[in-house]
C-alpha cells in the first residue's frame, strides 16, 4: 500500500505556487472556492488510492489552526 508523500516532491515549487495563485486572480471568493473544489476532485482522482487520500485529509485537518486567523 502506498503512503502519502510528505517529503518535497514538486520539481519547481516556486513556479507551481505562482501558477496556483495566478489561477485565482480576478476571482471572487465564491469563484475561488468553486475552483478549489474542482482542483481537489481532479487531484484526488489522479491519486486514486483511498488510503493516501485519507492520509491527505487527515494531514490537512490536523494542520488547521485551532482558532481561525483573520
Amino acid at each position: 500500500m502506498s503512503q502519502l508523500v510528505e517529503q518535497p516532491n514538486l520539481n519547481d515549487p516556486d513556479g507551481f505556487y505562482q501558477e496556483l495563485i495566478d489561477s485565482h486572480t480576478g476571482l471572487s471568493d465564491a469563484q475561488s472556492t468553486s475552483m478549489n473544489a474542482r482542483l481537489v476532485l481532479i487531484l484526488a482522482n489522479h491519486i486514486g488510492d483511498r488510503a493516501v487520500l485519507a492520509e491527505a485529509l487527515a494531514l490537512a485537518k490536523e494542520t488547521m489552526p485551532t482558532t481561525e486567523r483573520s
Binding site: T33, S34, A37, R38, V40, L41, I42, N45
Partner: protein, 543 residues
C-alpha cells in the same frame, strides 16, 4: 371514466367465523398489512402449506404509484413464488438514465444488463398493479385449496405477547374481536402501528426536505429513460425526476425544500403550473395522483420481538433514491419464510431466526448507507457540500473521472450475506459472485434458465460431477440438480459457477442464496454445510 384499480375494493370486509367463536381462535401465522411485502410473505407461507391470515386496515390496493422501480432480484423472487411473468409483461423496462444540471445534460448512463439472465435489470410498475397481481396470486392459491385468507377492513388495535404466541385485537365495521397467532409478521409500513404498540424504537436520520410526487397521464414523446435534474430552471435550487410507468403514466418527483405549506403545495392549482414549467406549456396531461412526502433513513435495532417479526418498511426505512424500499422488503420475506418454516416444523432451533436479523440488518445497513449518500449528494446539507456537488456535475460533462461521483441514486442490488453464520465451506478460486452468502446468479440452460430450477427447497447443484438424486439430513430433504456444461447453449454458467474449476457442487438455500460450495461431492461435507445452513450446527468462530 372507469374506476382505477386502486378505487375498487379487492378484498372487501367479510365476517369471519372467528368473530363468533367463544374464545380467541389460534392461527399459525398472522400477517399484518396487505402491501407488497405482507402479500409476498403470505403467498410463500401458503405455498409451503402453512396456514396464514392476512389482515389489512382497508380493502384496496395502494393509492397512487408509490414504489415504482423493481430490480432484477425481486423479480426473481416473484418468479420463485409463482408470479413473475405478470409483473414483467406489464412493467416498463428501461436501461438508460440521463442526468441534467441546470439547462444541460451532463451525463448519461446505460445499465447495460449482462446477458444470460431471464429477468431485466429493472422494470417500472405502479405499486397498485404490484399489489393487484399479488392478490391474483393469492386467489390462485385459494383455488388450489392452499390455506391463505385476506381479511379486509380488519385493523389491528392491540397486540399482546404470550410465552409462545401473540394475541391480536382487530377492529372491523362490525366491532372488535381477538385472534391468536403462533407468529405475527408485521408488514404494516414505515409508520408501523405494531411497532408502536410494542414500544420499540425506530431511530435514524430525518432529512429536512419535502418531495412532491405526481402521477401524470400523457401521450408524450419522452423516451423510456430515467431523467434526473439537478437545479433545473423549472425547479431552481432543487432536484427533479421523470420516470415512465405503464399505461402512459409518468412519475414525476419534485424536491420542494423544507419550509413549505404541504396542503397548499398539493392543490391542483399549484401543482399544474409546476408541471407545465417542467413538461412544456403545450403538453397535455391529466393528474392521476399527487402526494407530498418526507423521509428518514432508520431501522429497528432488532427485527424480531418475541413472536412478532418485522419485515419491509416497518423494520427499516430508506430514502427513495435507489429503489431500495420495496425491493429490500421483498428480500426480507425471501430470507425469512424458509427459516420460519424450519423453526415451526422443529427442524431448526429458534436461533435460526436470529440469522434473519443478522442477514437482513446487514442488508438494511447497506441500503441505508447507499440511500443516505445519494440523498446527501442530491440535497447538499452545507454550502461546501453544494459547492463540491456542483463541481462534480460540471466536471462530469467533460471529464469521465467525475461521472462515477454523480449520485442520483445507487440502484438496488441484492445484498451478499458475507460473513453470515449460515455460510459454509467455500472454494476460494471459484468465481467471487457465487461465493457463499450470494444469491445464485442466473444463467441459460439447455432449455430455460437456471433460476427456474432453483428455490423453495434445499438443493445441490452438481456441475460436471455425480451426486445422489436426493439426500436427507436430519429430516430435511436436499434435492439435486445435475448440469453438464457441455450441453449448455453458452458459457454463462461456466463463467459464473466454475471459473477455472472443472466441476463444482453448490448447496443452495430455499431463497436461492448459496450456502456452501465444493469441487466435488462428499456426503459428510454436505451434511456439515447443511447443518450450518439450518442453524443446527454452530461454527467455531475463527479469527
Amino acid at each position: 371514466m372507469s374506476k382505477k384499480i386502486f378505487e375498487v375494493p379487492l378484498y372487501p370486509y367479510v365476517r369471519s367465523a372467528d368473530q363468533d367463536a367463544p374464545k380467541a381462535v389460534r392461527h399459525k401465522v398472522v400477517v399484518v398489512g396487505a402491501g407488497p411485502i405482507g402479500l409476498a410473505a403470505a403467498i410463500e407461507l401458503a405455498m409451503n402449506d402453512i396456514p396464514v391470515v392476512v389482515v389489512d386496515d382497508n380493502d384496496k390496493v395502494s393509492w397512487g404509484s408509490r414504489a415504482v422501480c423493481y430490480a432484477k432480484r425481486p423479480l426473481e423472487i416473484l418468479d420463485r413464488i409463482g408470479c413473475g411473468d405478470q409483473f414483467v409483461d406489464k412493467g416498463v423496462q428501461w436501461n438508460v438514465g440521463k442526468v441534467f444540471f441546470d439547462e444541460r445534460q451532463v451525463y448519461q448512463f446505460d445499465l447495460l444488463p449482462e446477458d444470460g439472465h431471464k429477468r431485466p435489470a429493472f422494470i417500472n410498475l405502479q405499486q397498485y398493479y404490484f399489489e393487484e397481481y399479488l392478490v391474483d396470486r393469492v386467489k390462485e392459491l385459494q383455488a388450489q385449496g392452499k390455506p391463505i385468507e385476506i381479511r379486509g377492513n380488519n385493523k389491528v388495535v392491540a397486540l399482546d405477547q404470550g410465552e409462545d404466541y401473540a394475541s391480536v385485537q382487530l377492529e372491523t365495521p362490525e366491532g372488535t374481536y381477538t385472534i391468536e397467532a403462533d407468529w405475527v409478521i408485521a408488514c404494516d409500513g414505515a409508520a408501523s402501528p405494531i411497532r408502536s404498540m410494542l414500544g420499540l424504537d425506530f431511530v435514524g436520520r430525518v432529512f429536512e426536505d419535502n418531495f412532491l410526487i405526481a402521477d401524470v397521464i400523457m401521450d408524450a414523446s419522452f423516451p423510456t429513460e430515467r431523467w434526473f435534474w439537478f437545479d433545473p430552471p423549472f425547479n431552481r435550487g432543487q432536484s427533479a425526476l421523470l420516470h415512465k410507468q405503464p399505461d402512459n403514466v409518468w412519475r414525476i418527483d419534485l424536491q420542494l425544500g423544507w419550509d413549505i405549506d404541504k396542503e397548499e403545495e398539493k392543490k391542483e392549482e399549484n401543482v399544474i403550473p409546476r408541471l407545465k414549467a417542467m413538461l412544456g406549456e403545450d403538453v397535455n396531461f391529466e393528474l392521476e395522483w399527487v402526494s407530498i412526502y418526507t423521509f428518514q433513513c432508520r431501522r429497528m435495532e432488532q427485527f424480531r420481538k418475541g413472536r412478532v417479526i418485522f419485515a419491509g418498511d416497518s423494520a427499516h426505512q430508506v430514502s427513495p433514491f435507489g429503489a431500495r424500499g420495496a425491493n429490500s422488503g421483498l428480500q426480507d420475506t425471501d430470507n425469512l419464510i424458509w427459516k420460519l418454516k424450519l423453526v415451526m416444523e422443529n427442524k431448526a432451533p429458534l436461533s435460526l431466526l436470529d440469522t434473519y436479523d443478522e442477514e437482513r440488518i446487514y442488508a438494511a445497513d447497506e441500503n441505508i448507507l447507499n440511500s443516505s449518500r445519494s440523498t446527501d449528494f442530491i440535497t447538499p446539507k452545507s454550502n461546501m457540500s453544494r459547492i463540491f456537488r456542483n463541481a462534480v456535475l460540471d466536471l462530469a460533462e467533460k471529464a469521465a473521472f467525475a461521472r462515477p461521483l454523480v449520485n442520483s441514486g445507487r440502484l438496488s442490488v441484492p445484498a451478499v450475506y458475507d460473513g453470515s453464520s449460515l455460510n459454509g465451506a467455500d472454494v476460494p478460486h471459484m468465481p467471487k459472485r457465487t461465493r457463499p452468502g450470494a444469491p445464485a446468479s442466473d444463467a441459460p440452460l439447455e432449455k430455460g434458465y437456471l433460476l427456474e430450477q432453483l428455490g423453495n427447497k434445499f438443493q445441490l447443484l452438481a456441475i460436471n460431477c455425480d451426486v445422489p438424486v436426493s439426500l436427507d439430513v436430519d429430516g430435511i430433504t436436499i434435492e439435486s440438480l445435475s448440469i453438464n456444461t457441455a450441453q449448455l447453449p453458452d458459457k454463462s454458467l461456466q463463467e459464473r459457477y466454475l471459473g477455472e474449476a472443472r466441476s463444482a457442487i453448490y448447496l443452495l438455500r430455499p431463497d436461492q442464496h448459496i450456502a456452501a460450495r465444493f469441487v466435488s461431492y462428499d456426503e459428510a461435507s454436505v451434511q456439515e454445510a447443511m447443518r450450518i445452513a439450518t442453524g443446527n450446527l454452530t461454527q467455531e468462530v475463527t479469527a
